[in-house]
Amino acid sequence: MGRTLAEKVWDDHVVRRAEGEPDLLYIDLHLLHEVTSPQAFDGLRQNGRRVRRLDLTIATEDHNTPTLDIDKPIADPVSRAQLETLRKNCAEFGVRLHPLGDVEQGVVHVVGPQLGLTQPGTTVVCGDSHTSTHGAFGALAFGIGTSQVEHVLATQTLPMARPKTMAITVDGELPEGVTAKDLILAIIAKIGTGGGQGYILEYRGSAIEKLSMEARMTICNMSIEAGARAGMIAPDETTFAYLKGRPHAPEGADWDAAVAYWKTLRTDEDAVFDAEVVIDAAELSPFVTWGTNPGQGAPLSAHVPDPASYEDASERLAAEKALEYMGLEAGQPLRSITVDTVFVGSCTNGRIEDLRAAADLLRGRKVADGVRMLVVPGSARVGLQAVSEGLDVVFKEAGAEWRHAGCSMCLGMNPDQLAPGERSASTSNRNFEGRQGKGGRTHLVSPQVAAATAVLGHLASPADLTDVPAGV
């Protein structure tokens, strides 16, 4: 019987398979950041262990880093201590580190792909649940906890039980103005935050094949929000073209050998998935969340749902609690929701294509009075690229704040946070209670919806911008 993409990559990394044991998987690339690694390095020290494969390990700083005044000492002493701990650990163990201020610094899931380290058919792990991002290249990539970080540092392997596989087939054309973000939010709303639990998702179908690498990363990034540890997309010419010439992409004969292998990484015709979900791209429209988990979303044209309409008691209770926390009324049009802050950035939507999309809508327009808009590139390189294209000027002229790279307001570990009761439209991945700051209220949106919302002051899509931008 044929095998799925996930099964092929899995099988190629099995170091040891024995009855009654999880498979021991080899890890090709281990990404580190400051938050989930300190206790792992401590564990190595306590046991007198070293990092087994420094050449498969790389670290950067992203969660705590400020996005303003990066040339000055970090004000928060606890954040500063955590970054200094990473620097000390990397120096002591010999791990390559791209610290704040380095041209390769940035959100770990933006840095790996842009360096060409994330490649088809590799296994990629990081102590961060959004490691699923790298699956966009046909890599098997998943988030791990700190005990597993220590395990990979010490052994370059992980004992893992093989998950089941689920096909998410998206055929047809995405309508104009509908993005990868809208698609993944719609998928999560359809299958639920637990729908992917125990599965590796494979996104496939004609609508997926047409997507750019940036858009594919947006989709795979949020697999975890559907409960799946990993999401994958079969590599194709789009993938190869993205990788060609990147600093760590193979060259010469190695490139040819790699591409020959990468081309085998497709689900066989006769392979069987354990589950399948089919989505018609043509039926989608801009999608936003109204609640406090990423599955609580609806088309922008819809209304805030009535909790009483849920048959399942726990979903009903969850919706009631969500509306209370979010300060929303059942039946309220989603477009009537006004925001205080708009955040464009994160490992979900902080790549160059996302910044271009937001800038295109802001060119010649102004951010609404009373709205604060933050634009945070996913990496220092993305920031430099944006500057070279003049996007920073577009953002600043529109009244948005142009910042340095990092995770920033996606999770508010640095000073970029919502105040209690403040409401945001955010291109990030989680609308959990307090995620962007204590008492903050988050609506997850695409970069296009973020930009339109910034201009109009309420949740809106690009089609709602009926004015003619200045200078056009």
Binding site: L29, Q82, G127, S147, Q148, T155, T193, I224, A257
Partner: protein
């Protein structure tokens, strides 16, 4: 890792679904570089409410958390497990756990037990009616017991063996050093490297 064989204690009924790891331990606590000292961060936002279940006097000293479905979703932060353990929890019962949280819990000796929602409902009713009611989580017998309730649970034999014996994963893996080295010798040259070696 501390071994887990069986545990008996009072329980906290947490009638919420989709309790994500941002609720279990908010991000600002993640700046710490140790595995301890997270107890005050556990459910920090909800604990500001004096009526929150964890704040009730009759729940003090409880060691078994009985939670709604999809417990531990979201971030991979192992700090969520440490926070529950630092606070004093030995076991968490739910009808469904997020994968990464589950893996993290079992690596730290916090036993996460999957039971049918009907059993979870019965446990909620029992411990809400009688806060002194004790719940036993018996890993040897793979069984949860409380007044009027006996519920078997599943856990794969390998995880159970590691928990019962408090075994360290890394030492176990390093017993297979030869196989790791043999695999490494066969890796293709085109695989990415972060350093020139």
């Amino acid at each position: 890792m501390e071994a887990f064989t069986t545990h008996t204690g009072r329980a906290v009924p947490l009638r919420r679904s989709n309790v994500d790891t941002d609720q279990i331990i908010p991000a600002h606590w993640l700046k710490k570089v140790t595995r301890d000292g997270f107890e005050d961060g556990l459910f920090e936002a909800w604990r500001k409410d004096p009526e929150f279940i964890l704040n009730r006097p009759e729940r003090q000293g409880a060691t078994v958390l009985v939670a709604g479905p999809d417990f531990g979703t979201g971030s991979s932060r192992e700090h969520a497990v440490w926070a529950l353990q630092n606070y004093g929890f030995k076991a968490v019962i739910s009808s469904r756990f997020a994968d990464i949280f589950r893996g993290n819990s079992l690596k730290n000796g916090l036993l996460t037990v999957v039971l049918d929602q009907k059993i979870v409902d019965a446990l909620w009713e029992l411990v809400e009616a009688d806060p002194t009611a004790e719940v036993t989580v018996d890993l040897e017998a793979r069984e949860v017991r409380a007044a009027g309730i006996t519920a078997p649970f599943e856990l794969d034999e390998n995880s159970r063996w590691r928990l019962l014996n408090g075994l360290d994963d890394i030492s176990l893996t390093l017993r297979n050093e030869d196989e790791i080295a043999a695999y490494e010798a066969g890796r293709p040259a085109y695989k990415p490297r972060t350093l020139q070696v």
